[in-house]
């Protein structure tokens, strides 16, 4: 089913984004690479730095380290003032939050308070074991926030490879409602997208037919759906190319992005229980953690 551009799309404009940084692996150049979004209505950036409790809380014999909190706050404040000055001079609106608390909780709170249209953050800092016990912050944010989340990754060590990560995205679709929402979102970004590659990965489990004919039939069915989707995108003014891949979804999407020289991956993120996602292996989680590309995850509609 192809949903035509409608009112829902207007609501999905990116006017305000929340830029969440710990200053270690997400820098101002990442934000600058997103400034093309001004063409798609961006006019307000809100900075957020979360001082995690373990940095300021209870050390043996010292208790709560108020002075450490002040130092961290001021350090963040000075950095944000410098960044904000650049944006203010471009006529952008800028806001700041520097808060102490749990990372995911504070990101969600700030996103809600400010009613942002996009959350930009860096990949998970937690190790595998830590994630197993306390869960993945990104997964929690994607699950709880009703806002799309861009997991920003540097494609080159010296900085963003693509001047504009939205320039040539790869849209991964599995024909679900979440994928449809990602398509709608993509349409709302028409002003900044030069070309989009659309990929569907048929898992090996889906290839029930062992005959070459059966496998080809699966490919053909998906290819026809992709063609229809690409036609719809082209009618909408976005150049689109279809691709069918077969195999492990996360790694095949990553391969497709490499093959297409994509600037980012866009995918819908289905609703799942936190417990299931923490222990399971969702595609969105896999992409956020494993892919080398920036990943934009579009959450399902609320309700």
């Amino acid at each position: 089913m192809i949903v035509k551009a409608g009112e829902d799309e207007k609501k999905m404009e990116i006017k305000k984004l929340l830029f969440v940084t710990r200053f270690d692996n997400l820098h101002f150049d990442a934000l600058q690479s997103l400034m093309d979004l001004k063409k798609a209505a961006l006019n307000h950036v809100v900075f957020l730095n979360v001082i995690e409790r373990d940095k300021v809380a209870m050390r043996r014999g010292t208790g709560y380290e108020k002075s450490a909190e002040i130092r961290l706050r001021e350090k963040a404040n000075i950095r944000f003032i410098d960044w904000a000055e650049t944006l203010f001079e471009q006529g952008m609106e800028v806001g700041v939050y520097i808060v102490v608390g749990s990372f995911a909780g504070q990101v969600i709170q700030a996103a809600e308070k400010e009613s942002v249209d996009l959350i930009v953050l860096s990949p998970e800092k937690k190790g595998r074991l830590e994630r197993l016990y306390s869960g993945s912050d990104i997964t929690e944010i994607v699950q709880r926030a009703a806002t799309p989340v861009l997991v920003y990754k540097y494609l080159a060590q010296k900085g963003p490879l693509a001047e504009n990560p939205f320039e040539k995205p790869l849209l991964a679709t599995n024909w679900s409602a979440a994928s449809q929402r990602a398509i709608d979102y993509l349409k709302s970004l028409k002003a900044v997208i030069r070309e989009v590659d659309v990929v569907h990965v048929a898992s090996e489990k889906d290839l029930k037919e062992t005959s070459a004919m059966g496998i080809q039939k699966t490919r053909k069915e998906n290819r026809q759906k992709l063609d229809a989707l690409c036609d719809d995108l082209e009618d909408f003014g976005i150049t689109a190319k279809p691709h069918v891949y077969i195999g492990d979804t996360v790694s095949e999407i990553d391969k497709a992005a490499r093959g297409c020289q994509s600037s980012m991956i866009i995918a819908g993120s289905p609703r799942k229980s936190l417990w299931k996602d923490r222990w399971g292996t969702s595609i969105s989680k896999g992409l956020a953690e494993q892919s080398i590309f920036p990943v934009l995850l579009i959450p399902p509609k609320e309700g």
């Binding site: 003032i81 000055e85 203010f88 006529g91 939050y97 400010e114």
Partner: protein, 130 residues
């Protein structure tokens, strides 16, 4: 009744500092934590002076200042900008917004960069509220 001074700053410590200076100077402080709240209080309480920060959540001082100085009924309220953001940036941002089609706005009555000495702030408040 003493004149009212609205302090708009997201940092509670700064609000407390400014409110103390305002009180010590013989005026009544009112406080707001962001531009959005600040604008509501300006319309409701009609303060005699606004001390305004720039970088805040919800709505920045740049936008609040613009709203104040483009509203005929509010334009006469003097403003002391008090921020870590440089005056040059503030003026450039206002210029950029004017270039994008907004109305031009006058410069603020005073622009102080943080941190400010209490004596300096008190002096500027008294100068404007005489």
């Amino acid at each position: 009744m003493s004149k009212k001074v609205l302090i708009v700053d997201d940092d509670p410590d700064v609000r407390l500092f400014n409110a103390t200076v305002v009180e010590e100077s013989g005026f009544t402080p009112i406080e707001a934590a962001n531009g959005e709240e600040g604008l509501k209080l300006i319309k409701k309480d009609r303060p005699d002076l606004v001390i305004l920060d720039v970088l805040m959540p919800k709505q920045s001082g740049i936008r609040l200042y613009r709203e104040l100085k483009t509203d005929k009924s509010l334009i006469g309220i003097p403003v002391i900008m008090l921020s870590g953001v440089a005056k040059r940036t503030f003026l450039r941002s206002q210029k950029a917004l004017t270039e994008f089609g907004d109305k031009p706005v006058p410069e603020p009555e005073n622009y102080l960069e943080k941190p400010v000495e209490p004596e300096e702030l008190a002096r500027e408040i008294k100068k404007l509220l005489g």
